[in-house]
Symmetry: C2
Subunit: 148 residues, 2 copies
DNA sequence: CTTTATGTAACTTTATTAGTTACAATTAAG
DNA sequence: CTTAATTGTAACTAATAAAGTTACATAAAG
């Protein structure tokens, strides 16, 4: 029972674009090297991020940009872009309607699952890409400090 | 992003046992008929519910029972029994450690995902099997009332 | 123009879940 | 006791979704 790594990879890509903007060429190949996947997978994800209005890209040019300030991109925005608001829990929609339980469990679970999912989404909405980037920068600084 | 129906089916089975206790034989076959799956799938789930101490069963006899009052069984108890506390979100653990992003994104996401998951689990912990059963009973009553 | 890159379709591989078959172990009823 | 019904579980198959690959048309940029 889990959300695919696409969600994590999407956040990774957005953070990468923000951090390495102007420092190295932001080719799908360079990004894929950081995510450790193929450039096609990266482009596929970026295509969705573009559709959702989170980044801008130019066909043929290696120059993706965040379409908004990282402080104004929440993890829920990314979730919606990539997972199309899919559910965290799945209701089994093949139950016996003749049975008291089978005939009423679906609506019942939908009602309660929605509460749980709303709670999770609200948290996601409160975490920004800027939070993620800050955390990455700080962790990196701690590492280099230990070494030096 | 594929989420198994096992969690929903588990709640279904528990509600079924509670509602049909003493009314019809609680064979895995009868339960499977309500869930619209095979008796083996039902027995497999019940085996886990038993291990988690949510039900009691007797080998060879069709007599499963809830081990606790439905008011004292939360959806989180069921979640733990069936999903073994698996994560709702998956961190991609194959990222480039040489890269600032790839080398720090995993811990960063684990930290923030944990907050989101805790929020969801807290909600699950506040919903009891009794809530589910009540909801099923009320919905059924509404149906029969409309018809009559 | 030639090289490099994106965007996307179509396909293959891999992993997970659901469902099936089979059977030993157990219960319960005559 | 013996027989029929049932659980518990292993091993297998089928279905499905995600991840990765191949291929190529299209666009950008020197």
């Amino acid at each position: 029972m889990k959300i695919s790594t696409r969600f994590s990879d999407s956040i990774h890509i957005l953070a990468f674009i923000s951090i390495y903007q102007g420092k190295i060429p932001l080719t799908s190949d360079n990004i894929a090297n950081s995510v450790e996947t193929s450039p096609v997978v990266v482009r596929r994800i970026m295509s969705q991020l573009k559709k959702a209005g989170l980044i801008t890209t130019v066909h043929g040019a290696a120059d993706p940009k965040l379409a908004k300030d990282p402080a104004n991109i929440s993890l829920y925005d990314v979730f919606l872009a990539i997972e199309h608001d899919q559910h965290l829990f799945t209701v089994d929609d093949k139950t016996n309607p003749q049975c008291i339980v089978g005939g009423n469990i679906q609506d019942t679970l939908r009602y309660y699952y929605k509460q749980v999912e709303t709670s999770a989404k609200a948290k996601l909405a409160r975490i920004s890409l800027a939070d993620i980037i800050d955390s990455i920068i700080v962790k990196q600084a701690q590492k280099t400090n230990k070494k030096g």
